[in-house]
């Protein structure tokens, strides 16, 4: 990474700087080698972590600022572009993009049979460029977080949180992935740390249920919907020619269904023989750069693997909250 002007980084001894993973800023190494550990865990999660024999090592994080362009042509057509060379995305990575399989395209002719500006065809189109850009940004940030965890000698990363947001400049999105690196007491570190969105009692219950976390799994899918005339009328609350119409808006339903299906398929491709725990869909909608409606779906969860039989959970105690 390029140099940044601040005195602390320049003052680092060469030996210390050399120990830092090549892709990480020098300040990371300095922080990880300081005496006190830090953690983003809540106290309740910290308590559960200690009870499970996990020792927090450091708050670890990774970032990636990505230019986000609708006209991306890196290695293919705008509708089928692949990540640029050197991307951490690859087979088996926990952030394969949704656009890896066959694309989703669906056309919607004008049902009125009238040729005019108002009466037009529409379509739903998967946007692989957006999916690949997301996976590249998320993947780079995730990889850097894992590098930090390895630097700290971690066995795993718990309480992973990933966010993305627009920076001040247009079309620049920052991906930010954080977590708490932990070590299992009296146990050698594995070659690569595992990661999970879980922490605290949820993680404890996962172990009790006989599963161990392998890695976080996440994917984003994106569908651009150009409404045809009928969909446009219905979105405006009319059925065309001024009369109201109650019923399903099929094009919207298909776009919403497709975007979830694509995200699910992309995450499923990351799982191998493992299963997904705690899957969460997040759907957002916005207007496309060139018009139309964009529906995006992010699916996150923890890839888990069974290691023992299920421990029976004690019978739950009925309680009444007095507040």
């Amino acid at each position: 990474m390029s140099d940044v002007d601040h005195p602390e980084a320049r003052d680092l001894p060469e030996a210390t700087a050399a120990q830092v993973a090549t892709d990480l800023p020098e300040a990371v190494g300095r922080r990880l080698k300081s005496g006190a550990w830090s953690s983003g865990l809540s106290v309740a999660d910290f308590a559960a972590c200690v009870s499970m024999g996990l020792r927090p090592l450091a708050l670890v994080q990774g970032f990636c600022a990505m230019q986000w362009s609708a006209y991306a042509m890196s290695g293919g057509s705008p509708w089928g572009s692949r990540p640029t060379a050197g991307s951490p995305q690859g087979a088996g990575a926990p952030y394969a993009s949704a656009g890896s399989g066959s694309g989703y395209n669906e056309t919607w002719p004008c049902p009125h049979g009238i040729a005019s500006i108002e009466h037009r065809w529409g379509g739903n189109y998967e946007q692989p460029w957006a999916e690949h850009a997301w996976s590249q940004g998320f993947g780079s940030a995730y990889t850097r977080m894992v590098e930090e965890a390895q630097e700290a000698g971690a066995h795993g990363i718990i309480d992973v949180v990933d966010t993305s947001r627009y920076l001040s400049e247009q079309s620049v999105i920052e991906f930010h992935v954080t977590g708490t690196a932990v070590a299992v007491e009296d146990s050698p570190a594995p070659p690569a740390p595992w990661s999970t969105y879980l922490a605290g009692q949820r993680l404890a219950k996962l172990f009790e249920a006989g599963f161990v976390p392998v890695s976080v799994a996440a994917a984003m899918s994106s569908v651009l919907m150009w409404p045809n005339c009928q969909t446009e009328y219905l979105l405006r609350g009319t059925g065309g020619w001024g009369y109201s119409y109650g019923g399903e808006i099929e094009q919207v339903i298909n776009a919403d269904t497709a975007v979830r299906r694509l995200a699910r398929a992309a995450v499923r491709s990351q799982l191998g023989s493992d299963t997904l725990h705690g899957a969460r869909f997040a759907v957002t909608r916005h207007t496309g750069n060139m018009g139309g409606h964009v529906v995006e779906c992010t699916l996150r969860g923890t890839r888990v693997r069974r290691f023992k039989d299920f421990d029976p959970i004690p019978a739950a105690r009925p309680t009444v909250r007095l507040s």
């Binding site: 990480l24 922080r31 006190a36 830090s38 953690s39 106290v43 230019q67 954080t178 105690r317």
Partner: protein, 264 residues
């Protein structure tokens, strides 16, 4: 009031009233119960404030750099507010302050000036054990009453609310850089690097504070970002958390019980 040493007259009067047994606190009833259960008694609501002129610092349009003067200003202002709050707690003979909140307010009448406020509830151990931190001051913590109780059950004790800050100017992209990436979805290393460095500096400073206190760890770390009034390319990165040490007592964390809530 130029330094932290002098408390206003009104403060002294309020604290004297609290010494007669009445206490004030912003703890909820549940928090109050758990703080009591942890063996502490609330003494009073304490606060510290500092109105600070943060000024300006020149920056290079195309260079990512830390704005050290602004960093120092944000640091000093918070430290002054925190120190004054600690001083109020010391006046009450407190062992610590729980539920600390650090706020920054801007007022229309003070351009480039901000008020930094630290608020919390001073507490004292009921069994007479001293919980003063390594610097001989009352511990401070942003933990809620519930979290404070849970932390004590793990055998850890809070040392201080530690923070690290870094005001960083993120370089603008030049015309050549912008044109060079037109139509591509690519990482922008200058932005990534700058944001990375700024957050790391803030976190390192927070950990340095914890190390100076002899803390073994920091729980509940939050990373906050604000541009305040400096424009979108100048950002303050604040890392804040509660430094803790292993106490002398053993962990007495109860085994969690599964429950079924009968509420709606």
């Amino acid at each position: 009031m130029t330094e932290a040493a002098d408390l206003p007259e009104a403060t002294r009067h309020r604290l004297e009233e609290l010494e007669h047994g009445l206490f004030t606190s912003d703890l909820s009833v549940n928090e109050f119960l758990l703080v009591k259960h942890a063996g502490f008694h609330p003494l009073g609501f304490v606060m510290g404030s500092s109105i600070y002129h943060t000024g300006i610092q020149t920056r290079r349009w195309g260079k990512s750099q830390e704005l050290t003067k602004l960093t120092e200003a944000m640091y000093n202002a918070r430290e002054l507010a925190m120190t004054r709050m600690e001083e109020e707690a010391q006046e009450l003979g407190a062992d610590g302050v729980v539920g600390v909140r650090l706020d920054v307010n801007y007022y229309e009448w003070g351009r480039d000036a901000a008020e930094f406020i630290a608020l919390g509830t001073a507490v004292k151990a009921e069994d007479g054990t001293s919980y003063l931190n390594a610097q001989g001051k009352p511990f401070t913590s942003d933990l809620s009453g519930q979290d404070f109780w849970t932390l004590m059950q793990t055998g850890h004790v809070p040392q201080a609310l530690v923070l690290g800050t870094c005001v960083f100017h993120i370089a603008h992209r030049g015309l050549a850089q912008t044109l060079g990436t037109v139509g591509q979805n690519v990482e922008l290393p200058n932005f990534t690097q700058a944001l990375y460095e700024a957050r790391e500096l803030a976190m390192t400073r927070m950990q340095d504070e914890a190390n100076r206190l002899g803390a073994t760890g920091i729980v509940g770390v939050r990373l906050e970002e604000k541009s305040h009034q400096w424009g979108s390319h100048t950002i303050e990165f604040l890392a804040i958390g509660t430094a803790v040490t292993k106490g002398t007592g053993a962990a007495t964390l109860p085994v969690p019980t599964t429950i079924i809530s009968l509420d709606n």
